[in-house]
Amino acid sequence: MTEVSIEKLTKSYGNARAVNAISMKIAEGEFISLLGPSGCGKTTTLKMIAGFEDVTEGAIRFDGQDVVNTPAEKRDIGMVFQNYALFPHMTVEQNLAFGLEMRKVPKPQMRERIAKVLDMVQLKGYEARYPRQLSGGQQQRVALARALVIEPKILLLDEPLANLDAKLREEMRVFIRDLQRRVGITTVYVTHDQAEAMTMSDRVVVMFGGRIAQIGSPTDIYERPENHEVAEFVGQVNLVEAKVESVGEGTATVTSPLGNFILPTKISVKPGNMVSLALRPEAIELSMATAGQPAATVLASYYSGALMDYRLKLDNGDELHAQTFPVNRFAEGDRVALHAPAERFWLVGVAQ
């Protein structure tokens, strides 16, 4: 098991910085995701860890040892590519044997390890198949097996599920996560899909424009996003106008159409400031409107089986998106009361 530490890692192309002085520590056996829109530098970071991209500045350490000048073929990494990159002229067994041959593993031991890893990815009996004879999901699992059979220090995955259909993608998420837990290998996973990052990772690194916007557990990222950009990237957000009434020690008392709250605040606000409150759609609960409660009118409702989505209009004209279980269902034009607990709000900035 290997601990990875990245210090002020930078990649420049001419004057453009694809990755801009990022630092992070990845613990032994941890599953970490690099999440961000395309062009945010996540793949470049992964390629630098793998050794496929030169590092402009900074350090990458495996267990304290700087590997920046170690070529990819000597870094002892397992890598899974978006298009799997299985060798098309080799059978499954030959694909898996390739890395072991490079390590001069004796034949009997080789056969044993291949059998073991094929069992892990549930592809026993597929040894003699060629990649083109396998489905996308099976190719994906062979690619995973090929990376794992060499028992690398770290496992790197570059959007491995992007080419699979939705149902298979969800199965593979669970599959990869379980496998990673069982093997206990330090893993770096690159994705632009927030649901993938959330369900699989111990920690998520959200990246924008070559910089780290936030590192944290999926819960941190989702429920306590550092800024509005992160909040929007990992899920839907409502913004509600509010007015600061008084300011306390790191907190502010605000009045909003959804009620009055005392919220922790990281930014400096003064009484009288107008601020925006952010709130996830599923944090809002709805009931039949009764007098004296914050209320809204249902503009539209959408049924998606497990959940109901509502578009609501507050009395001040603002729109809100709410997501609830379809227990009590409301129709277009209904008046509904809104309940949202104070801890689900966060303060995102002062309106000018």
Binding site: F52, G78, M79, P88, F98, R146, A147
Partner: protein
Amino acid sequence: MSRPFLTGYCLLIYAFLLAPILVVVGASFNAGAFLTFPPQGLSFRWYVTFFNNEVFMRAIRTSLWVAFVTMIISGVIGTMAALFHVLHARRSKDVVRIAMLAPLLLPEVLTAISLLFFVYAIGIGTQNMVGMIIGHVLITLPFVFINVSASLESFDPSWDMAARSLGAPKLVRFRRIMLPMIKSGVIGGCLFAFIISFDIFTISFMLKGVGTSTLPIQLFDYLRTNFTPEAAAVSTVSIVLTLTVVIISEKVLGLRIHRF
């Protein structure tokens, strides 16, 4: 345009292209003493004459040997050039490509005359086959280059990265990953080099050494003074040899050859 019309049109073109060849093949089975068509009686006598003709036999051996050597040299140089062009050339990419294809764009006779001056200038002369082989390599190089480049374009760089991550050094990656995937391009290009070298006239004519006539040269020499069906027999054997190579490459190796 309608399908029957196009089919008919294609058939006409094929007829136009193939008729002379069929005439030659037909004339080679002539029993008479003169090269005429339709043949006067059927016989293999001119084939027997041909296979007993030491001059022609030497020429065919020379042709095969030159074609083989040309193929090997062109194959190696052309493959290396294609590797550089596709994988490493950045700003020089277009220059490399045009330079490699230039022999196709120049009239062969110009290349031949320039080469003649060149081989004497550098002291090789035309006493042996070296000058001629240089010429053949020059003409056949673009075909190897085009075929290997085309197969390299479909080489996915992530295969190479995967092999690197698995611990394979550069040479092993070339031998075990890249070469097998571009094999069809390399073999196709080499076969092309062979066929074209076998067929080259102008270059051979200018650069041939004493007693190193290739089959096309010998045939030309022969036709200047003789007009027997033996010439047709020589041509037919030459066509069959070329066709065999093409058919082997298409059917047995299942290759897709890119000529352009």
